[in-house]
């Protein structure tokens, strides 16, 4: 047994190319995504059609120009110029200020500003529209203030757990989860499927080593590798991305270890249902990559999805782990807050192990 584990270790660690890949990939990805991914739009290119050219319209344009959100790419004279600008993507939004803007405002009449957005990317369109509305409401408030004695309600806004709304706080936990889950599941499923494909599994099975011991020997090196990976990613997110780490680090490491074991059990389960490395890889990568990213709350909030998708998301282990990681790192949550999520991941681990053992025994009795 001990000899078998040592052999598995040596086999993995001697393959320097795989080692470079195993450690290099997660580090490269976390660095890349940490710096590159960003939800907030700054300096979006817009066009303005000013049909008034008066005091207030100029004032409003100055205000728009002064905000960080927009760069005024050009001024246009007619709506006809909008379509070509959208089609080649040089402008994302057009603000149309109506004629007699100042006159109407001074007379206490209503006036309508049209905000036309290129919604072929609805997310960007929505964000830009909100920014624009916010800038215009600010402008309006300033106008009201000029009237003097008017009661204003001033919202004082505080963003808790992420004061400056850094996107990296959202992406690092997500990338961390995706890497741990897929790399672990992939590594085990492939390495066991490989023995099957090359026919060496049969040799192992007739040896005096018990099946359980074979599995432990196969998996243990990957537990250690993945744990090192997890620690490296956490160090990077602390030192390079300045993640706050408000909660307990040992708890975080413990949860990471549990999640790694869950992913490895999933990998074992995949290997028991696949007969070649290619099948194992298609199941652990192709079938899992996009659902792990999209149904886990990594990119899109689960709360806003249709009911049926919310139910499906409950069986995604990554969903629960992302809650745990964000809870511990950003909110300083403890086990009292996160016991439910922890129990769910533990339960999933047991289910995968149980299913694999059952499948494995059936296979043995068939032979």
């Amino acid at each position: 047994m001990k000899g078998f584990i040592i052999k598995e270790f040596l086999q993995i660690f001697r393959d320097y190319r795989s080692m470079v890949i195993l450690f290099g990939i997660p580090v490269a990805q976390i660095m890349l995504f940490g710096f590159a991914l960003n939800m907030d739009l700054n300096n979006a290119h817009i066009a303005i059609a000013d049909k008034s050219h008066d005091v207030y319209s100029t004032e409003l344009i100055n205000k728009i120009e002064a905000s960080d959100y927009f760069i005024i790419d050009r001024f246009i004279n007619s709506e006809k110029e909008i379509a070509p600008a959208f089609r080649n993507g040089s402008v994302k939004e057009v603000i149309v200020i109506p004629p007699d803007f100042s006159k109407n405002l001074l007379a206490g009449e209503s006036t309508v500003i049209q905000v036309i957005a290129d919604a072929s990317d609805p997310n960007t369109a929505n964000i830009l529209n909100n920014y624009t509305t916010a800038v215009i409401s600010d402008f309006q408030k300033e106008l009201i203030k000029k009237h003097g004695n008017i009661p204003l309600i001033e919202p004082k806004i505080r963003f808790r757990y992420n004061e400056t709304l850094k996107s990296v706080y959202m992406f690092v936990p997500g990338v961390f989860t995706v890497i741990l889950m897929l790399v672990s599941a992939m590594m085990t499923s492939i390495s066991i499927a490989r023995e099957k494909e090359l026919g060496t599994m049969e040799i192992l099975l007739v040896s005096p080593i018990k099946p359980v011991q074979i599995i432990i020997g196969k998996v243990l090196p990957y537990v250690i590798l993945s744990f090192i990976n997890a620690s490296v990613i956490l160090l990077l997110s602390y030192f390079i991305f300045g993640m706050p780490f408000n909660g307990s680090v040992p708890l975080l490491l413990g949860e990471a270890l549990l999640f790694i074991i869950m992913s490895l059990s999933l990998g074992i389960f995949i290997s028991t249902v696949s007969d070649s490395q290619q099948t194992a890889m298609m199941l652990s990568m192709f079938a899992m990559l996009l659902p792990t990213i999209l149904l886990s709350g990594f990119v899109f909030p689960i709360k806003n999805m249709p009911w049926i998708l919310q139910q499906i998301s409950h069986v995604m282990p990554s969903k629960w782990f992302i809650i745990i990681v964000k809870g511990i790192i950003l909110k300083g949550a403890g086990i009292a807050d996160l016991w439910k999520e922890t129990v769910i991941i533990l339960g999933m681990t047991l289910v995968f192990i149980g299913l694999s053992v059952k499948k494995f025994n059936i296979r043995l009795s068939e032979n």
């Binding site: 089609r87 309508v112 004082k156 298609m282 079938a287 990213i293 999805m305």
Partner: protein, 351 residues
């Protein structure tokens, strides 16, 4: 085992995952700390209760008591109304209201806060009308949004073409990436090497089935997009299929290249996963490309997925014609020829 993975899995994923994308916010759980206990503060709370964006979860005497609910995500936003709120407003003075948002998810936090301030502004306007007699509901600026190409802001219109591209790309790249290296690993490549089959014949024979599989998946996906998601395919379907045929050569070329530089299927798979996760995340499907730093946008020059998603959107949603997308077609073609040529050269028959 492989047949359902190749044909059924992409369809199931397309059907499910296309519904995931939405940044719309509804039913945000809000809590109030009302230190004023006045008619005005109650009126403000009921204004939030009446909005479709917010659900009032609790009204608490102290901010401290809401720490735990916010940590456990039962409350997402807190509004604190200070004592003396009504008093100040009726005297015509300004009053502060504190908004505290759970900002773990930055973009959602931004949106929730924005909706809350809009409701406050509305409330403010009606107060001004009551106290000063100025007709604020009529006077003032109304913002009228118009969303071109997608007036209802339907995220599916945006996601379906994108997810379809991701799925056929992953199928093509993973299958081709693992295939040649498999012959190496099992040793059958030696047998192929001693047959009179030529290098390019061998590669065509290897790649052709994958090309067919991905094309079938794509056609089926487009059909579903039209029938189930009723996404308007404004441009020409033949243009899409034609450019897709070239694009898939590029994807298969990348897979083949990975196959030639690796020794085992495990290595091939890791490298494929490394590059394709990067391509996916930088493609602009989940986060806007414009929001990325300059260097990341430069990396997208090498990103086949970014090119093809861009092309698909232009043709499917905006109805671009061949002349409109000539630059994209040119880039995809040059990239495909270069990648495939390079991989074939790299692949030595006596490997």
């Amino acid at each position: 085992m492989m047949i359902p993975i190749i044909f059924v899995m992409p369809i199931v994923q397309l059907l499910i995952l296309s519904y995931t994308a939405t940044f719309e916010i509804k039913n945000v759980s809000i809590a109030f700390v009302d230190n004023d206990h006045s008619n005005l503060s109650r009126e403000l709370i009921s204004k939030f209760n009446g909005s479709k964006f917010f659900t009032v979860k609790e009204i608490s005497p102290a901010l401290k008591l809401l720490d735990e609910p916010m940590r456990n995500r039962r409350v997402e936003i807190i509004l604190k109304i200070p004592s003396g709120f009504e008093n100040k407003i009726t005297k015509g003075q300004n009053a502060d209201v504190q908004i505290i948002t759970d900002a773990v998810n930055g973009s959602a936090a931004n949106l929730m806060t924005y909706y809350a301030s809009m409701i406050l502004l509305d409330f403010n306007k009606s107060i001004i009308t009551q106290t000063t007699g100025m007709n604020m509901t009529k006077a003032g600026i109304t913002v009228e949004p118009r969303f071109w190409f997608n007036p209802e802001l339907d995220y599916k219109t945006y996601m379906v073409p994108g997810i379809l591209v991701l799925l056929i790309t992953l199928i093509g790249a993973f299958l081709s990436g693992m295939n040649v290296v498999r012959e190496k690993e099992i040793g059958t490549i030696e047998q192929l090497n001693v047959t009179p089959i030529k290098k390019h014949q061998f590669i065509i024979g290897k790649l052709f089935p994958f090309w067919i599989i991905a094309m079938v998946d794509l056609s089926f996906g487009l059909l579903l997009a039209k029938i189930i998601f009723s996404i308007p395919i404004v441009g020409s379907v033949w243009l899409i299929l034609g450019v897709a045929a070239v694009y898939l050569l590029l994807v298969l070329g990348i897979g083949l290249f990975i196959s030639t530089i690796t020794e085992t299927q495990q290595q091939a798979m890791f490298i494929a996963w490394f590059f394709f996760v990067i391509f996916i995340m930088l493609s602009g499907l989940f986060t806007p490309v414009e929001a990325m730093p300059r260097w990341a946008q430069m990396l997208n020059i090498l990103n086949p997925i970014a090119y093809f998603i861009d092309f698909m959107r232009l043709v499917m949603l905006k109805g671009a014609t061949v002349t409109d997308v000539l630059p994209q077609i040119f880039k995809i073609s040059v990239y495909a020829v270069a990648m495939l040529g390079f991989s074939i050269l790299r692949y030595k028959k006596r490997a």
